[in-house]
Symmetry: C2
Subunit: 342 residues, 2 copies
């Protein structure tokens, strides 16, 4: 089976965005603040938004299952305070849960957290617990920069983040490190901020002893690891100069890269330099890059084609990338699949 570990609900019915706009307006003017209960989206609307979009593409590409989380660019943790983020996260996670109930063989949830800049991360634990225990979610997205491009939070190695890590370890769920919209004019959201955050997070982890404190913590760096695999020699050299372990060994069972790299040479490089055991198939479809590549005639984000065409990969390596690694990293997903004899 083929598992895509990186999908967001980018195609939610328009009512969601309208509710959010009212919520944002309500930050300044309590009179227009909407209640969560005022958002009404029917199962038919949800079904339609998925059937003709993500699920149609999954069928066309032979992807069986997607780990599905709220739209990353809409998390916008920098907007409002914790209460705003908490209500918004709760709504977005519930919608992903409902999608997973409507299409139980094709979608499983991963949670967005109600992060807010400067707020104790203990405040995120209740929503995380709810998503895992009530919704059966199998992972979380962790935003290393809830300020939206101002980078005012401490590095991921800081104890600030430990309450989240403690829950992750308790539930054995991984975190995908994923920022949201940039509100800093310097950073284009999907062209710079996303990739920068991936590189930044990798280096924060590499220069810390986080995995000594949390030996079973699992972190997924999306978008093919940002700039990291392309500069693997640079990172190997920096690690060597800092007396860190050899990079390929240091990744261990802690650090994984997804395959959201949208051309053949990029996937070739990724799968050449990163051990196959640390690569998770993903496409972030339907996401940042939705067009068709005129050079191939296929969608830029149809990453399965590139992996299939990466001739140096063994059958075993490809199997690990498509399924085995995902089941190891998302152990609760593996358990759920086994319960269905899958």
């Amino acid at each position: 089976m083929i598992i895509d570990v990186h999908g967001h609900y980018t195609t939610a019915p328009k009512a969601l965005e309208e509710w959010r706009n009212r919520q944002i307006a309500g930050i300044a003017d309590a009179a227009v603040r909407p209640k969560a209960s005022e958002l009404r989206i029917s199962d038919d609307e949800l079904r339609e938004s998925i059937e003709h979009n993500q699920l149609a593409q999954m069928r066309a590409r032979n992807i069986d299952l997607t780990v599905f989380s709220p739209r990353a660019s809409f998390m916008a943790h920098h907007i409002g305070d914790f209460a705003v983020s908490a209500t918004w996260a709760s709504i977005c996670n519930e919608l992903c849960h409902r999608v997973s109930l409507l299409f139980p063989d094709h979608f499983v949830g991963a949670a967005m957290l109600p992060q807010s800049p400067g707020v104790d991360t203990k405040s995120c634990v209740a929503e995380l617990e709810r998503c895992v225990t009530e919704y059966g979610f199998v992972g979380i997205n962790l935003n290393p920069d809830p300020s939206g491009g101002h980078w005012t939070s401490p590095p991921l190695s800081d104890r600030y983040w430990y309450p989240i890590y403690e829950k992750m370890v308790e539930y054995d769920i991984p975190a995908m490190v994923h920022v949201s919209t940039s509100c800093n004019a310097c950073f284009h959201t999907t062209g710079a901020h996303y990739l920068n955050a991936d590189t930044t997070a990798f280096m924060q982890l590499l220069t810390s002893d986080l995995f000594t404190d949390f030996p079973t913590l699992k972190v997924v760096i999306p978008h093919g690891g940002g700039a990291v695999p392309y500069h693997w020699g640079r990172f190997r050299g920096l690690a060597q100069a800092m007396d860190r372990p050899k990079l390929a060994e240091w990744l261990g069972r802690n650090v994984y890269f997804d395959t959201c790299v949208y051309h053949q040479p990029g996937i070739d490089l990724l799968t050449q330099v990163i051990p196959a055991g640390n690569i998770l198939f993903a496409s972030e479809m339907i996401g940042a890059v939705r067009g068709i590549d005129p050079e191939t005639g296929f969608h830029f984000d149809d990453t399965k084609r590139y992996i299939d065409a990466a001739g140096h990969l063994s059958g075993a390596a490809r199997l690990a990338i498509y399924e085995g690694n995902a089941r190891a990293v998302f152990s609760r997903l593996d358990a759920a699949l086994r319960a269905k004899a899958m």
Copy 2:
């Protein structure tokens, strides 16, 4: 001939750092503020610092000439005010000039600018003029984030930067977009901030019409273009979605990438996806990654080996990368070489 367009004076005599430390102490305490004239470094000291370091490596690697600028991580434009930056830039540029006088066949200068966060960039023009007209410098380093990791300046497309661009066009000199030390704990300087800045700058340029206002402006994105070539499909897709020109055409005679990518797969990818006419040979030696790669037995930053081994490159392409493109981009260097019948 082989021209390395990216070298910094990272091996300057210790007296320079000591003077700088006194300058920094003098920000808070005028009594200990040193005069520029108190820094004394002899020609012999300069000669020795180069002979046994950069020049020895250049000879070992068959590199003829390096475009040489002050140490990037020491620019630290976030420290002090404009006057502090102005004195510091003047001292650092003068040292590079003296190196170029001592080794005229092997080093030519590129200027650091006296940038300071929030200060009008007109203030940088006098030092730029001095370096070009008095020192024969052939390029500049432009820091897109003089705040040192807080990204408080406007994007490179903003008119804030135009006074520098106007001078660049007048003198026909290129800018290498190069940040300095990160003072934001989120960003490791050479493992994250440098690469992030490269990706960020590329996207700032791509989403603007800067080259409509300055059709002959030339920008070099160092460190192999940050994350850009690895994600070339992503950037092609984003450009297509934004109705921008085809990326390879958009680069034109405006945007160039250097070859500071420290392993074979990275250079293979760079030279596969970026037109050879937009690639400039460089190593940033002696710089961020100084060790020997145990996988090859050679220095990580010995980038010439990777380019020589990139089998898909034609002889003409390799010649362009090693010399032709550098002479086209650094036209004042070309003129100086021609004057020496080189």
